[in-house]
Amino acid sequence: MSAQLALDVRNLSVSFPMRGRDADGRRRRLLAVDDVSFSVARGKTLGIVGESGSGKTTAAMAVARLVPKMAGSIIIDGTDFGALDTEALRRARQRVQIIFQDPYSSLNPRLRAADIVREPLIYAGATSRTEQDRIIDELFEAVGLRPEQKALFPHQFSGGQRQRIGIARALSTRPSLIICDEPVSALDVAVQAQILNLLKSLQAQFGLTYLFISHDLGVVQHMCDDIAVMYMGQFMEYANRESFFAAPRHPYSEALLDAVPTIEVGAQATGGKLVDGAIPDLTKPQTGCRFASRCPHVAAGCEDSVPLLDVWPGTSDHQLACYRAAEFAAS
């Protein structure tokens, strides 16, 4: 693929060992991510949305090699990141950084703010102490923290300020990819806007590439160039922002969008359209569409085989995995 891709993930699967064995005596495993492919061009943002438990974090952690993948390839800036082993991996790790959801638990409480930002620089090796200090000063300014705050401990900061420290830390090694896992979900609305604006302006300033995970469609719409809708380990729909929000085509995407309360008075969010069906058990092999049990458009055949992501006719890159979409789009 072109060198413009910061991240290119092909056929990624991740499973977790569970207690117990299946009928054939094999160790039971939960298939949290099942054959998912995605890519992000340099300087762009891919958003992954979906309900709790859909596998968003697992997919991202597999990209960062913080959980082992079962299958698939992970190419970062043209290098096969997924294939690196110990020593090479240790050096390459600095190229992927993560901003976590919880600014309270993700920072080491015993380190001063400056040293939290310094840590990844030390792991990356090479730089001198004075060089590190220079980088830290720059980062503090870039994320809107004052120089005298370098000496403070995490508990002396507000939630939004802690998230700024987390962002400075993530930026410190000039990574090829920054994974933002629900970076504003734990923050108050006003602070949320401050942090989203910061992430956007840093992206413009440094050409950052984000893999942005959120369950908030409003935030994803604001932040992302491309959107992947994930449900129970698979992508249901994957499209660029314009195409997706102009016409979301998968019944699950539709349900998600319908459920978001809008500020239009009297416009009632539905979501009630969903069938109250059982959510699939990911420790068992899936024989059909994972969403079929809750899908208002379910029909014969949906549960017989797994629908694959396919480009929607008339678009260049709007993909969806649904047997029924063509039918109800026509009606």
Partner: protein
């Protein structure tokens, strides 16, 4: 929805103030809060974290933390001043006439009893009915909150249910005694949007059917617009704006309200109209030790701040052109042509 009723409102909170006594001294957590609630009406409290939304609810329920006390004002429930009620009276009130559901359903349900047992217990305690009829009623309630296959699920333990189902059980318990007021404190924060939409629809339906008044506490303006007729915006322990949702959301008068609405990225099908940067409200809520001062507490964050904002606390004034829309601000936006 002009009020034509002449009788007293179901709930009439007048100039309620609550103070905390801490080692650092006395702080004013709630400062002169007033509002009314009619039978079957739905009101939302919004504001950032720490502004006193939950504390207002706890004051109504007589559940203030030990260091807190009502330092002024009245809470008139059908004419009875709850600030003067005995502990025994407040215990009877809770669960009977006023009940509350909390943010985290798992911590509010007892893990060692089945959901059926927990509903039966509430019914027996408050309604004094026998086991068999309580169980029959429990089943009806689980069906009313749309637990699928309720007769099979009634003997499940809380951990066997999904988060959304647990929250529905909490609603069933809260509604068991057909309260006149239901307080829902961030009832969907931990849930997925699709589940949230179901819970809101359920609360609306049941509220209407039982004529239950609902107080929704939230920081989500979308939830406010979906759920209630009126809203009250709180900042640093004070009521800064109140009115019908259509009026307040359509033409917010207080710069804080306007900021709260604008700083959230709302979904639009017109992607081209999305701006790169969101309008921000600078800064954060002041520490509780600053609450209660005779000044506008929002002034340091305000885009309209001017001389005089810190000189005194702004009083609540009615907005021209709107019915029952009031704001506490020295420089509010006008209600006419306020958009933009």
């Amino acid at each position: 929805m002009a009020k034509t009723r002449t009788d007293a409102p179901l709930l009439d909170v007048r100039n309620l103030s609550v103070q905390f006594t801490t080692r650092a001294g006395t702080v004013t957590v709630l400062d002169d809060i007033s509002f009314t609630l009619e039978r079957g009406e739905r009101i939302s409290f919004v504001g950032e974290s720490g502004c006193g939304k939950s504390m207002t609810a706890l004051a109504l329920m007589g559940l203030l933390p030990a260091m807190g006390r009502v330092s002024g004002g009245q809470i008139l429930f059908k004419g009875e001043d709850l600030t003067q009620a005995s502990a025994a009276r407040l215990r009877r009130l809770r669960g009977n006439e006023v009940s509350m559901i909390f943010q985290e359903p798992m911590t509010s349900l007892n893990p060692v009893f089945t959901i059926g047992q927990q509903i039966v217990e509430v019914l027996r305690l408050h309604r004094g009915i026998d086991n068999a009829s309580a169980r029959r009623r429990a089943l009806e309630l689980l069906e009313a909150v749309r637990i699928p296959n309720a007769s099979a699920r009634i003997d499940d333990y809380p951990h066997q249910l999904s988060g959304g189902q647990r929250q529905r059980v909490m609603i069933a318990i809260a509604l068991a005694c057909e309260p006149e007021i239901l307080i829902a404190d961030e009832p969907t924060t931990a849930l997925d949007v699709t589940v949230q939409a179901e819970i809101f629809a359920l609360l609306r339906d049941l509220g209407t059917k039982l004529d239950t008044a609902i107080i929704l506490i939230t920081h989500d303006m979308g939830a406010v617009a979906q759920m209630s007729e009126r809203m009250l915006v709180m900042y640093a322990g004070r009521r800064v704006e109140e009115g019908r949702v259509a009026d307040v959301v359509g033409a917010p008068a207080h710069p804080y309200t306007r900021g709260l609405i604008a700083c959230v990225p709302h979904i639009t099908s017109n992607v081209a109209a999305i701006t790169e940067q969101l309008p921000e409200i600078d800064g954060i809520v002041p520490p509780i030790t600053r609450f209660g001062r005779d000044e506008c507490l929002f002034a340091p964050r305000c885009i309209r701040v001017a001389d005089g904002c810190l000189a005194a606390k702004p009083q609540q004034v009615e907005m021209a052109g709107h019915d029952a829309h009031s704001v506490a601000c020295w420089h509010p936006f006008a209600s006419e042509g306020a958009k933009g």
